[in-house]
């Protein structure tokens, strides 16, 4: 910066109500007291008026958010009351922590629910990411680029179709008697009678995880493919000089480069570890496999809207949100500590 330039900065700063102090070659600007007073007098109303169009533009979103996200928070009060349909929220009798006690102490659903929720969520998160990572590596290493393109295009498609269509397909393939797989297995003579994939308790977790991995594989792999294309070629060249084959290059160059992405994605999803996709679990849960398939969200739905036990369902919702919030904040703190980046 030349002398003239710095002079310019100084005059501009003066005009805006700063005094400039030169100290050891660096300029420090300090707002003078007088000028602070000057700007303060008119700032509030002035600034509101000046940006009136901005406030007008943000207004619809603010209103919609209040109505659909913040006002419902006041509904948490019914968890501490005995609220029934038709009753006024204010008139319902207080019950204190009765609903929470019911869930934690009296009821025997807690263990099953937590187990189902955690197992399906953690395994689908881990398997989705690991498979997507492996898929991305194999795709980028494939010699036949055209085939790779086709596989990628096809693998991305399930991400866009609804859970209902996916469940219909599942049903068509795996139903007991009319399912394609059961029919084929019976035809070959491997089975006498079709397997009840969709109703049997033994298959619940596998089913929930496999379906979610299948749907998200292509979508997740995009992130990894982008990371792979960002790896500097020099690293591969250096590995080659050191005598690494293709597997060696993957093991010593690609994988270490993808690890941060993998870990960040896992941390980012920690806050949702108790939340499941209601669309999917509504369709997958049926009376025969409820013991192993029902997750917290489905339980809330069943108690709230099918059994009309509003207070109880809301209490569980509160627990879910609070635990999620604690997890997100801790994950954020962890991420800040180790990577210096905030995930929020």
């Amino acid at each position: 910066m030349g002398i003239e330039d710095s002079y310019d900065v100084a005059t501009n700063a003066h005009a805006c109500g700063y005094i400039v102090i030169r100290k050891t070659g660096r300029e420090i600007m300090i707002k003078t007291r007088q000028n602070i007073a000057l700007t303060k007098n008119s700032s509030w109303t002035n600034s509101l008026y000046k940006h009136r169009f901005l406030y007008l533009m943000v207004f619809p979103a603010v209103i919609a958010t209040i109505i659909f996200s913040y006002i419902p928070l006041f509904g948490w009060i019914i968890a501490f009351k005995n609220y029934r349909i038709g009753l006024s929220i204010w008139k319902a009798p207080w019950t204190g922590f009765y609903q929470f006690k019911r869930f934690f102490i009296q009821g025997d659903d807690l263990v099953n629910l937590l187990r189902n929720t955690l197992i399906t969520n953690i395994s689908s998160l881990v398997f989705s990411l690991v498979f997507a990572c492996a898929f991305a590596i194999l795709l980028s290493e494939l010699r036949y680029k055209k085939l790779g393109k086709i596989v990628q295009t096809v693998s991305f498609f399930p991400f866009f179709i609804s859970w209902v269509t996916i469940y219909t397909i599942l049903h068509a393939l795996f139903a007991v008697t009319s399912g394609a797989v059961s029919m084929a297995l019976v035809d070959v003579g491997l089975l006498k009678k079709g397997i009840n994939f969709l109703g049997d308790e033994r298959f619940s977790w596998v089913l929930a995880v496999v379906v979610q991995v299948w749907k998200s594989l292509g979508c997740n792999s995009v992130i990894f493919l982008a990371s792979i294309s960002g790896i500097p070629l020099e690293q591969y060249e250096a590995a080659e000089i050191d005598g690494a084959g293709r597997c060696g290059k993957i093991y010593y160059v690609t994988l270490p480069n993808l690890m941060p992405t993998l870990i960040v994605l896992m941390i980012m999803n920690i806050g949702w570890i108790l939340s499941s996709n209601l669309d999917l679990f509504y369709l997958l849960t049926n009376p025969t496999n409820r013991r192993t398939m029902e997750v917290l969200d489905m339980y809330i739905y069943r108690y709230g809207l099918q059994l009309n036990d509003f207070s109880y369902a809301t209490a569980i919702d509160i627990i879910k949100t609070v635990v999620g919030l604690i997890l997100v904040t801790s994950a954020n703190a962890l991420s800040r500590m180790y990577t210096g980046k905030s995930i929020l």
Binding site: F53, A61, F68, S69, I78, L147, G245, I343
Partner: protein, 288 residues
């Protein structure tokens, strides 16, 4: 040494190729199956894993499209898929622009106000009670209004706007453009890529939505969407498909035809979708 390495590499290449073909089959076969099944003559299907239509027949499609209830459901689905994203983009894009304006008083508060909703959700029942109190249960607007603000999309739009050089905005402001004009005439047109991506996100979400009908509108058949009718067809095929049709098709063939019809619009715009989604995911990932 060299020989061993190339043998290893060859082995790797072959296993890679086989794995990719396997992935292709796992990903594509379910779709091949439903398509072939829906085009088959159900009475001629003898094997389990169908690979191609056996005894070509379009009866299942005729039955599906001949049912007034399905036709109406398609209409409702199309309606929400068009109105929903337009509403969402209007509300979300304007807010997304506002939260990039550092000079606006309270911009930090607005930002937190929106982002917190991603982590704090009141839950199913409190939301249900509010929506019921608003009189939205049993109305079409339940499909549109609650999804009119999408914070995730707002953040995408915000990140995109932040990547536009500030000087552009400043020069427009010098020329005396007000903020409203500035956004709609200058910022919005530049944002076309992200706006297109977000609109497509919204449209696909609307087309695929299922649970909102199940939660709010089960008592209102006139508001059933195609997804919901498809779900109902899992247990009972619609009653209004016509006597003469019922003789020729099985419930399963009928369901397969409906599934294909439900997927078809997505397939039609899939090339565009894929392109924009990849872009959208990348903006989101960079942000994350």
């Amino acid at each position: 040494m060299v020989g061993k390495r190339s043998v290893n590499d060859l082995f790797f290449d072959i296993s890679d190729l086989l794995l990719m073909i396997f992935t292709f089959i796992i990903m594509a076969y379910p779709f091949i199956y439903i398509l072939s099944y829906s085009l088959s003559d159900p009475l001629k299907i003898t094997t389990g894993l169908v690979l191609y239509p056996e005894g070509f027949s379009l009866d299942a499609y005729k039955a599906a499209l001949g049912s007034p209830s399905i036709f109406h459901a398609i209409f409702i689905s199309i309606l929400r898929t068009t109105i929903g994203p337009i509403f969402m983009i209007l509300v979300t894009a304007m807010a997304g622009y506002c939260i990039t304006r550092e000079d606006m008083k309270g911009v930090r508060i607005f930002r937190k106000y929106f982002v917190y909703t991603m982590y704090i959700s009141a839950g199913l029942i409190p939301t249900f009670l509010v929506i019921k109190a608003l009189g939205l249960v049993g109305s079409f607007w339940i499909y549109i209004l609650p999804s009119s603000v999408s914070v995730f999309n707002m953040v995408l739009i915000k990140s995109f706007i932040e990547s536009i050089p500030k000087s552009l905005e400043e020069s427009a402001m010098m020329d005396g453009a007000n903020d409203f004009y500035l956004f709609w005439r200058i910022i919005f047109p530049i944002c076309t890529p992200v706006i297109a991506a977000v609109t497509l996100f919204g449209a696909v979400g609307q087309w695929n939505a299922f649970m909102d009908t199940q939660i709010y509108n089960t008592m209102h058949p006139e508001l059933f969407t195609l997804q919901y009718v498809l779900y109902l067809a899992l247990t009972t095929p619609p009653m209004d498909i016509g006597e003469e049709m019922r003789i020729f098709i099985t419930p399963k063939a009928f369901r397969m035809a409906m599934t294909v019809l439900t997927i078809l619009p997505i397939l039609a715009i899939y090339p565009v979708l894929q392109k924009y989604f990849v872009g959208g995911i990348m903006i989101g990932a960079v942000k994350g």
